[in-house]
Amino acid sequence: MIHSASEPPQPVQPTRGAQSPQDGAREPILATSGVSKTFPGVKALQGVDFRLFTGEVHTLMGQNGAGKSTLINVLTGVLAPDAGTIRLGGEVVAFGSPQEAEAAGVRTLYQEVNLCPNLSVAENIFAGRQPRRFGAIDWPDIKRRAQAALARLDVSLDVTRSLDAYPIAVQQMVAIARALSVDARVLILDEPTSSLDDSEVAQLFKILRHLKQSGIAILFVTHFIEQTYAISDRITVMRNGEREGEYLARDLPADQLVAKMVGHDRMSARLREAAHEEQAADALQEMTDESPVPAQHAQAAAPFVELRGVGRRGTLQPIDLDVQSGQILGLAGLLGSGRTETARLLFGADRADSGTILVNGKPVRLRTPRDAVRHGIGYCAEDRKKEGIVAELSIRENIVLALQARRGWWRKIGRQRAKEIADQWIERLGIKASDAEQPIGLLSGGNQQKALLARWLATDPKLLILDEPTRGIDVAAKFDIMDRLLALCANGLSILFISSEISEVLRVSHRVAVLRDRRKIAEVAGKASNEDNIYRLIAGSGE
């Protein structure tokens, strides 16, 4: 259940090139040829050819900014291409709006579930096109048809209950049911799995396979390499707005996929090994051996923060946790196991109702984020959009915000000084932006995350709490960020690292606390343990 995605396939034969021979006879259901799109200063797409076949799952891979989203927006009528043609079922089409694309049978599911949580499941499936009888909405018919639409996906729900009564994964299924409730020929899923846990992903994939067999062409966008191989028949790799190539999934080994995403020249040894999970641990071992934090020193280091019986009724069982100076403590556990809850209690975002927190050995009261910030703690929240970025403000304003908050409102950081700080971090963290005045909301996910890191690093923190810092970020940016964090740790920064990717937690953490059902069940040394151990602990069978 926990590790449901299958292992990456072994290379059968070396990749030959973009086209596979057996496609010659088949006509793609959806195809683009020579599609280009330019935004001010950015060539988002350059002469992209793309083909999607009926009965296949085709995955679009690429780093942030590679042009995946733009291509999807062009396919679904959100954007009009500057050049090139789109064919649907052989005929040239030019969708003026997403509605036109939907009417033509191209249905799209976006990253966030775009439904109304307060309406019933049935209403959500038929919102905007309710069947009518004598001018009034035919409720029995809606109910019947909603059940039928869900049955097609092997899901059975009480369709009269409101949507928010169901977990996010089920809401995702409802969104798919909505997408398919009218004649869909093409289903586009833009990172549908980023908020799902492993078992939910498995269920989604079951449905996708089922849909595939029923003759629907599926275009899938994800950052997860394992998931790509678990579901895809075909992979198109995008890089810098161009199509790098199209491959059959079974012909393309994972390491080569990563290499193609980042470009061969920029393919470091470490990245290549990352594609092979089993080798990654060794690679990191070497890297940390070189780093100035020796293992024995790490053991002796005094804890920066100690949690003693810190808990909150209904949220987290009392927990003991130490974060040593200059070390990374990982928190591993499933969604809802208490990872984020721990972080929020430590940061004062929620108030603990039991226990004490010690900073540098002295008991402190962390009742608000402000208290935590004053003790040198920073927190990059899980939900970047809602709890992290201030979207309409510039990168400069976002970066200096925490520093300014700490200085107080009276001692303003002058515009010139703020710009210097922002420019310095943009350069140090390699944030890709036209300049510091660009609204942060326009950056890609990885660059937003870096800017949020910069916001905290500018305050010179002692402890950074990172909740899913790499979610929705492409592989290369992920490694880039982790790399920089390790370097910061070497300089004495402590990190509390939370991620649902266990392998990632293990890779960077000195020690890992394992959480299950809102309590800490074990603490293990980071590099000493293997992934399976942690899985067993989380599943509750390893004790």
């Binding site: 975002a349 608000t368 402000r370 935590a372 929240a381 809602k386």
Partner: protein, 347 residues
């Protein structure tokens, strides 16, 4: 032009284009009707003329709208400002009425009392919004209704005449040839701009307006800032209350500042500050207030019958709002280009 930086932030200049155009059009219309519209003359060393008249009458609205701008920037709204205007005026008048010939000290006392009462009213709103967590429109609705009652209690349901010359000077006097109320509004605007943009408050208010959750997690005392902003709105409303009561030489708990909250909200929106919070522009708000006052002046000057004034005002406001909407402009552009295309085909 350094000043303009304080008023409007990055990109604010473009945002101010449409309010400027609207104001220019209104002035143009007045010039057509009355070629001497912009003419100024001096009488007893005082400046007179339509522009001065408009500025003078717009001063209370400008004051209220400045406070409203900050409230709206934090995603809030304050519909109690009209009532606070009445309370402040009533408080001042009540104190002044204790002496037949008010002394200078009593006038000072009345002014301070009015400001304190306004500040307290605003703080009351701030407590409800920030610490109790009420919806701003509901929280301030309470004072909007209760405030009129308080004002009437203070004045015992009567219109209290004000005779103290020192007090009347505030809203009706002249200094260096220009009405005092214009000076007061100008100083208040500059001081506010300096306070907000000269410190980090402006950044904090914008951040709270765009994303209150993230702002709290950055370690900002968002609640205290929002509280202060409502308090400030109460203070500017009280200043307006003093000007109005001084100008009409009386305190009327029932009618002083009636519907002023709506004009203030309108001034803020006409100036391009979004009701969704975040970016704000003082310059825009001032332009908005001037547009409203010029419009009122225009309806009289071009001879719109009094009973039709409100309808005409509403129509103009609608037109201005539509022009400012990007969606409507895009529609107009595509309509225009299709017209051109059709004409081309016809030829």
């Amino acid at each position: 032009m350094k000043l303009s930086k304080w008023f409007s932030r990055d990109g604010g200049e473009r945002q101010l284009l449409w309010p400027c155009v609207t104001l220019a059009l209104l002035c143009g219309l007045n010039l057509l009707v009355n070629p001497h519209f912009l003419a100024l003359r001096t009488l007893d060393g005082h400046l007179f003329g339509a522009p001065i008249d408009i500025l003078n009458r717009a001063a209370p609205l400008v004051l209220v709208a400045i406070g409203m701008t900050l409230v709206i920037a934090t995603r809030g709204i304050d519909i109690s400002v009209g009532a606070v205007v009445a309370i402040a005026g009533a408080a001042a008048a009540t104190i002044l009425s204790t002496q037949a010939v008010p002394s200078g000290a009593l006038v000072a006392q009345a002014l301070v009392a009015a400001l304190v009462v306004g500040l307290l009213s605003g703080m009351w709103n701030g407590v409800l919004v920030s610490f109790v967590g009420m919806q701003p429109i509901i929280a301030t609705l309470i004072l909007m209704v209760a405030g009129r009652g308080i004002a009437q209690l203070l004045t015992a349901g009567q219109i209290i005449p004000i005779g103290a010359p020192a007090y009347l000077f505030v809203g009706g006097g002249y200094w260096l040839g220009i009405p005092c109320s214009v000076w007061i509004a100008t100083v208040a605007v500059l001081a506010t701009a300096a306070l907000v943009e000269g410190t980090a408050l402006g950044l904090f208010i914008r951040a709270i307006g765009v994303n209150p959750v993230a702002t709290r997690l950055v370690g900002l005392r968002s609640k205290a800032i929002v509280f202060a902003v409502y308090g400030f709105s109460g203070l500017t409303a009280a200043m307006a209350g003093i000007l109005i009561s001084s100008n009409v030489r009386s305190a009327d708990g029932n009618n002083a500042g009636l519907l002023l909250e709506l004009d203030a909200i309108l001034a803020v929106t006409l100036g391009g500050t979004s009701l969704l919070g975040g970016r704000f522009s003082f310059a825009g708000t001032i332009l908005g207030a001037l547009i409203i006052q010029t419009l009122t002046y225009t309806t009289y000057s071009i001879g719109v019958p009094p009973e039709a004034t409100l309808v005409v005002k509403a129509a103009v406001v609608l037109a201005v709002s539509v022009i400012q909407s990007p969606a409507a402009r895009a529609l107009a552009v595509s309509f225009g280009s299709s017209l051109v295309k059709h004409r081309g085909v016809a030829r």
